[in-house]
């Protein structure tokens, strides 16, 4: 796993998540908790929201998995080294 690739994908996901957060007025983490607790089941019957909620949940779960990976990579190598590697790639 390449850190640069991971950071780029997390940024893309955050932009997508922000659109949903703005539209529905809650942060993705709170939406995720409510969905997984079954508090939003009434929206399953609403065609216009169901697919959006499925997409929002899927994107947030993907972001969570990338965030776990990010912390694994950061823990593996010092941040200073990560930055130097990234700068070397940028100037290559």
């Amino acid at each position: 796993m390449r850190m640069k690739e991971l950071i780029e994908d997390m940024g893309r996901l955050e932009m997508e998540l922000h659109k949903f957060e703005t539209r529905f007025g809650v942060k993705s983490a709170d939406f995720y908790e409510a969905m997984t607790r079954g508090e939003l089941e009434e929206f399953d019957a609403l065609d216009e929201y169901r697919i959006e909620f499925i997409e929002w949940l899927a994107l947030y779960k993907t972001w969570l998995s990338l965030n776990v990976k990010y912390h694994q990579l950061v823990a593996r190598e010092p941040v200073a080294l990560q930055i130097k590697v990234n700068l070397e790639l940028s100037y290559a």
Partner: protein
């Protein structure tokens, strides 16, 4: 030996675009893999079978974990021709409220933690198989 479909975006693209070749009962497919990043993407479109049977597909793929994080599938009988130039596309036809179709069954990843039957199937499907292959197999049976 082909790669496991969920091992990479490329492998999943090959899997999706090869469905028609592997399953002769598929008359036509508009499924498309849309990359959103190096590690995630989506599949959208319709698969057409004999007898005007249509499978609508929407999948959200996570290649970091190698899973389908979200999905929506619907099998219907279309009441309008879908092979003409001005036919509705997936964005219109696959909307659940589209009127000119008879819905047979549908399946999606909307969580229902209080419904144990739905919760268990979500786990099985999402963990082991791309559901499009499961649904296609059902139709081929």
């Amino acid at each position: 030996m082909p790669d496991e479909p969920l091992s990479s975006p490329r492998a999943y693209g090959l899997y999706v675009y090869g469905l028609s070749e592997r399953h002769p009962s598929i008359q036509r497919s508009t499924l498309v893999y849309i990359p959103s990043g190096a590690l995630f993407g989506r599949v959208e479109g319709m698969v057409f079978f004999e007898g005007q049977v249509v499978l609508c597909v929407q999948e959200y793929l996570n290649f970091e974990l190698g899973v389908i994080e979200g999905y929506g599938y619907e099998v219907s009988h279309t009441q309008v021709p879908l092979d003409v130039p001005d036919a509705p596309g997936a964005g219109e036809y696959c909307h659940a409220s589209y009127p000119h179709k008879e819905k047979f069954y549908w399946y999606d990843s909307f969580p229902h933690p209080s419904d144990l039957a739905l919760a268990s199937t979500d786990l099985i499907i999402n963990t082991f198989l791309p559901i499009s292959s499961v649904t296609a197999s059902l139709l081929l049976a």
